[in-house]
């Protein structure tokens, strides 16, 4: 059992924890980071595919407005490149497979108009959301009392429009329209900027990728931590009586003045706190479930679809992989198709074996890209639902009633315990960029708290 002393202990070495720790170090504050896994990056994870190349089985993209992630990557020397978008996209809709250019699929004009008016309405409603305190949004109670499904029934008029909007919900929240509060959807749109920024590739959150894989950014950023990063140390208990906090992990204990818990709220709620946390905070963590997603990839000799004039991007109303991307490395070799199982599909397929998932996903690829897609060299997937130290992805969503009754507990510190993680971010909540912002915010918060308490101790000694 290794023992560590520090000014601040950080629980979790995802982007939030790493950034919090680096920022604190830069202020001359001594930090130790306890991470449950044997690696850094949290929901961001590279998977080697040979020849020194990787694919990302977790979060991977960066796009306009995600300035903190671009800045961190630049700082640690990781370059970006555009998500492969050349060529025509595919849409499988009502039994027909069509090719189209740009972001607007060539389907029924009434459906497109319907989706357009729904997005415009959502953007307009989202403008009224107070991202720092969504519960103070005008009419917050009414917006938080209904599911997005209920809103959609009243405001999207065509079955095709509902299908496409539902697909967007699944793609962004890894949940179904029935699961999420309308206010949460509006908050997320406001937190990103607008609806298109969430769903678009070029010009949106899926615009760019990282050379060497997104986890490389976390790995390089974590280098500054040196031996103050302790791996294989799942934190089980935080004792916060008096002026010293004990952070007790399976294989390590840290003694500190302040602790930053930088894991998703439902996992933060599983740590034993002594004394127990106030009920308001505890009930929050009972109401922030993680979404459900399985990220699936098939690897081919080469990206053969490019020669057919296809971008590799596709949407399908059948699925089960309803959203597909070309996820090949920057040099286009090997060819990688990426399909997402989200929401209901993820809940269903996480219980199936890998073989069944492979058949279903490779089957989708073959339907979209032809028989060559049926015979990948390798198939791999990652069900984040099964990951003990994440328990779902991309992030938490709030069901109805959550923001208005418990939202103020998401980042409010409790004594010497501070909270970070993308779920505490006002801007780009749920994204890597939000995780970084939360790390920066909590580092400033903790530094101020340490100064204040050392100043008051100095004062009382006089």
């Amino acid at each position: 059992m290794a023992e560590h002393e520090a000014d601040v202990a950080v629980v979790g070495a995802g982007f939030a924890g790493i950034v919090a720790a680096r920022e604190l170090q830069r202020k001359g504050i001594d930090v130790v980071v306890l991470e449950a896994r044997d690696r850094v990056g949290g929901r961001v994870l590279n998977e080697p595919i040979g020849d020194g190349k990787v694919v990302e089985v977790g979060g991977q993209w960066v796009g306009p407005g995600q300035d903190r992630l671009y800045a961190l990557a630049r700082e640690v020397g990781v370059e970006t490149y555009p998500t492969h978008s050349e060529g025509e996209n595919l849409i499988e809709f009502r039994g027909a497979l069509k090719r189209y250019k740009g972001t607007i699929p060539r389907i029924n004009a009434a459906v497109l108009a319907d989706v357009g008016q729904a997005q415009a309405k959502l953007d307009r409603l989202a403008k009224r959301v107070d991202v720092e305190a969504p519960w103070r949004t005008p009419d917050a109670e009414r917006l938080d009392s209904q599911t997005f499904w209920s809103w959609m029934r009243r405001n999207v008029y065509t079955p095709g429009g509902r299908m496409l909007i539902e697909l967007s919900i699944e793609a962004v929240w890894a949940a179904e329209p029935a699961d999420v509060s309308l206010l949460h959807v509006l908050f997320y749109i406001a937190s990103a900027g607008n609806f298109d920024l969430l769903v678009d590739t070029g010009g949106g959150a899926q615009q760019d990728r990282f050379v060497g894989g997104s986890q490389l950014v976390a790995m390089k950023a974590a280098e500054d931590l040196g031996d103050r990063l302790v791996l294989d140390a799942p934190v089980r208990r935080i004792v916060h009586r008096g002026s010293t906090v004990s952070v007790i992990a399976d294989n390590a204990t840290a003694w500190c003045k302040r602790v930053v818990v930088a894991v998703p709220p439902p996992l933060a709620g599983r740590i034993a706190y002594d004394p127990p946390l106030p009920g308001h905070r505890d009930q929050l963590t009972q109401r922030m479930p993680m979404g459900a997603v399985i990220k699936c990839m098939a690897i081919y000799d080469e990206p053969f679809w490019r020669r057919d004039g296809l971008s590799g991007q596709a949407t399908s109303d059948v699925g089960p992989a309803k959203i597909v991307f070309d996820n090949s490395p920057p040099d286009g070799s090997p060819g990688v198709l990426l399909g997402f199982l989200e929401g209901k599909r993820a809940r269903e397929y996480t219980r199936a074996g890998e073989a069944e998932r492979r058949d279903a996903v490779v089957g989708t690829f073959a339907r979209l890209f032809g028989p060559k897609a049926a015979k990948p060299e390798r198939y791999l997937d990652k069900s984040w639902i099964e990951e003990e130290w994440t328990r779902g992805c991309y992030g938490c969503y709030l069901p109805t009633g959550g923001w208005t009754s418990y939202g103020d507990a998401i980042k409010a510190p409790i004594g010497r315990i501070h909270w970070a993680g993308t779920e505490t971010a006002s801007i780009w909540m749920g994204y890597i960029d939000g995780a970084i912002r939360s790390g920066e915010r909590v580092a400033a918060e903790v530094a101020t708290a340490l100064q204040t308490s050392s100043a008051s101790r100095a004062g009382s000694a006089v």
Copy 2:
């Protein structure tokens, strides 16, 4: 660190755990029960008020249809008596205070007709619910995609009707109409029998009380367990590799063949399982929040309201104690008024100090019952939100999308781990009666599993 060996370990000595353990013992199966607290009863708790008398600060009532609770009380020799209902009830509604007899308040006829038609609709819809598998209910997806708030907006027509129906939701679920799935409300109604059975005093779930307090039933039932009941043993980890399960608590470890986890799902989700539980089960426990309630009582020399011809039962649209009962002991001395802070009021007042709660609740009593009520001899309350080993009351509710996506995981055993607790009950879920039924169900399930595995071992030895 005490070590225990048994065929079966039971986690939690609420009604579910106690009944499961007794039933298993009666089948000749060796059981050990690990309880986090220094007492039995879980959400059911007596509070002494002097002269050997008690009031209940947790679950307390029993009514028609709750046959298993009546039977257990009879078996252990605890008598019941009717909830005090003689005299006129009070309703505070839109600034006026009115007295009425029976269950129908004398307010606006249009409001009463509205509530009547809404209840009839709910009862009709509830008849279609499959209580063993609510996700198989016809049209389950649609019913589970909307909040009860959304249903109410379309199906209750008067503001007064909405207020009264909202009050029922708060009283039964300790949550707001915005929080709960319509399908969950319908399931609960079906699970109890009908809407009136949930909300009524005479003829409903609040009909009778227990002489000596409801916890006495648990305490007497637990006597059979003798030294196989281990208190002060919060279970932190369950290792379920191979044929022996290790159940590891702070001050004790039990080695067994099967384990019954008889704590509410969100708390069951906080135990560390090795190997980790399947994601489907884990995500369920992220989606079953506990309700919010604070039970508040004021104690007076005598139940003075009875002399004024009042029953002590009252409802108020102001509150914050919106539902009030005469909770005096069977001999009517001392006089006890009981008020509930539920849903939003509980969320707000659990963060206030006891003094503020006292002022608010005693203030309600004084408004309803006159100046004598303003000066109780004693005030006491219990915020179940703050209880580390319950974390809310009365029970879990399911938000939208919960039953249809995760309902099948509520009681499905995982290897050698079985689940009990009122949240796993098909009949009277959320009530003491449901807890008992779950204990009986799980005992049969575990006994069969033990027989099957010992038979297969005997077979393989041949």
